[in-house]
Symmetry: none
Subunit: 236 residues, 4 copies
DNA sequence: TATGAATGAGTTTTCATTCAT
DNA sequence: AATGAATGAAAACTCATTCAT
């Protein structure tokens, strides 16, 4: 699942408008059945994710999305109602993806330190690989999260990450490995900060210091560094 | 200079379009000298900072900026050439402010741990107070920093922060207080991450977890937490 | 026939788009016999009458009609060919209803004054109760009656009203009760004006003078007033 | 004033989209000064009145209005904000015109019967000549007067007609010429009905009875008939 | 230096109608 | 006889920028 998403990421030119993806392979598949609403919606969402992620909400062009789709602009309105409706659908999908994966981590089966390491590594890897997710979250923050707030299912989906962290903290404190004054939400924020920022701000950082912080060569180093920082912060 | 900026910050509604500031008082002042190019430019920049910060580059409206200005749209083009030219001028000003301040920190006079604490606290405080700076950097990252790259003076101005950190690290390693395997640029990224993200992503974070991470009540706690995390990471 | 129309009237919100009627009950009834072309056509016409009456020809939406129907948009085209075809069918039905009723008045059996009173009262009541008829006639006038002209059966159906009036006038003149210089078509126009306008223009009239001229409380008063005005006009 | 409006009326093809008026004369006048906002607004309003009156709100085309204007579509939005805003401005103007004229009638100087005759004749003539006013009122009724309600100045402007009628009635009752049980608003409605309907419904009436009720040949006859009907209704 | 009016090219959205099943 | 998906053409509206004064 994660892999297929990663594939999507590769097809978009990260700066500027995303390149037209090679639809030849899919076109053949589509030829088999022309009326496939699920596939139509999926295809629109995929293209829209790339466009919104690359251009922002205001900067994205409905025409541009439609062009790179297997269908017409009209269908975009047919299924998503408006540019903003489509943007919300993209947000919903993209947040759904990470939360689904988070729930599949099963760190409760690991001992505290190992579990925490695993959680941080997962968070690091996810952000490192899903630049479009990072961009969309960034964009949503420009809008004061007002579209996210509209997604009814959203809020409830976030409880599990915090529950996971809380479980790790509790067990770590019980075993004497972790300090006992750390709030799980604060810790989640800290982990997010370290994993998110190096991706979200890599452009300005690169320009300022001549070094792209999300460059593959730095990847392993940063991953270790962040795990290290979190564990040092937690240890007694 | 910083003070006048801080004042600006208070007058803008942080979410959504900034409120129309009461121009009546200022209008009177302007009446004294009718043509004051510097004041006109300053006024345009101030309003533009608020608009770009609130709406993004694509989302900002030239009309909206001009309306809240003491002058007309034509002047905006007269002085800044285009919407993008104005945006660049805003970026330039906002980045200039923080670097100027960083150079005035004089942490070289403090012993390493204290100096590092002071640097982190300064970074924390600056981001905490200058939300429009944070927003503009975020916006610039959406555009792959392409406008920042155009600012000739920009790159050279960043060397000093790294020099400051390097000095602290070297002295800390020499005194046996700090570990010796930390890269100054990586450390700067870590500090930035922790200070920037809680401000830049407070909206989505707030929506997801029902807690605004940049709320004043959490301020002191986070400040300590971040200093603590950085120092624990550095200590031998 | 009239009853089924009256029912229709009650189910539509007279101002603005008609409320979505509760189709659940009807759906069950329909379930008994799956394909009933006559019922399908009747149902489409009923919904279309409400929509065209509420929104006008240009303002009506085919999608909106189809939605509130028991069937789909395709059927609407299957039976009526086009939006305009459907509009014509609605017109035809609605004009047919009033002419049919007018023929059942049998005022020829009454003495002239009583017969005239009865005719005016009937006209008054019909317009008062059939707001959608009034609206559709209004709408048709916006279009210069071009759709009405297409209805072949229409023109012939109108002769009888005039014949009825002519009979009353002739008898009234003969008995010395009515003046002898009144043209039956002019009189019909006068009666129509008085009965139609208070319904057709109630919105602007209400806004201008703060009084809805078709309000139930004014109903009886206006009815008498109009009968009175017509009879005074006719009397020698 | 009335004459200049009457001229406007002649330039529009009453059925279907109004013909492009001959702008050659006016174009020359405009050549003198190109920047004339009042003239631009006036010109847009004039063309829009014809279009809305001929096609209705939903049926009118912004492009079509702009085309027949001396300026571009953009200016239409510049001055009136939206299609609906333009429609409201047209309504405002058109209602303003008749109310202004009504106030200039000075029937208070005439004895009651003569004054009432003059008022009815004015109302008759105005509707007879201003078909676009009649159409616009009709159209506004299709929309439940919701745009008229938005015009703040509107309601207050209507008091004077009622005051005029009330004055005539009071004086007529005092002199023993009029009955004493007639409400001025009801009477206004009656007069309006008789004068409005023969214009507003002339198309359907013409189709039904083969006679255009607003045909010039019938004009004088109807005028007298209506005055007669009103006076007979009022006389003791 | 300053201004309000004007604009063209582009952008989102709508809608009656038809297609494939 | 019936259906949900699909569509092209057209409609409303927006916006950065320039012109005439």
């Amino acid at each position: 699942m994660l892999e297929s998403r990663a594939f999507t990421l590769k097809t978009l030119d990260d700066m500027g408008r995303p390149a037209a993806s090679s639809n030849s392979a899919r076109a053949k598949i589509d030829a088999r059945r022309k009326y496939d609403p699920e596939e139509t919606k999926r295809n629109i969402l995929e293209v829209a994710t790339a466009e919104f992620s690359a251009m922002g909400l205001a900067g994205a062009r409905v025409d541009s999305i439609a062009e790179r789709t297997n269908t017409t602009k009209r269908m975009l309105y047919y299924y998503f109602g408006s540019k903003e409706g489509l943007y919300e659908a993209v947000l919903d999908k993209v947040y759904g993806d990470i939360r689904t994966l988070e729930q599949d981590l099963h760190v409760s089966e690991l001992e505290p330190i190992e579990g925490m390491r695993r959680l941080v590594e997962f968070t690091f890897d996810y952000h490192d690989r899903h630049r479009d997710f990072v961009r969309l979250v960034t964009i949503e923050n420009i809008h004061g999260a007002k579209y996210l707030e509209q997604l009814k299912t959203f809020r409830s989906r976030n409880a599990s990450v915090i529950a996971t962290i809380e479980d790790l903290l509790t067990r770590g404190v019980a075993s004497g490995q972790f300090r006992d004054d750390v709030d799980p939400i604060d810790l989640h924020l800290m982990i997010s900060s370290l994993c998110f920022h190096r991706v979200s701000n890599r452009s300005t950082f690169g320009t300022a210091f001549g070094r792209d912080p999300s460059h593959p060569r730095l990847r392993a180093k940063h991953r270790e560094m962040i795990v290290d920082a979190v564990l040092r912060f937690l240890k007694k």
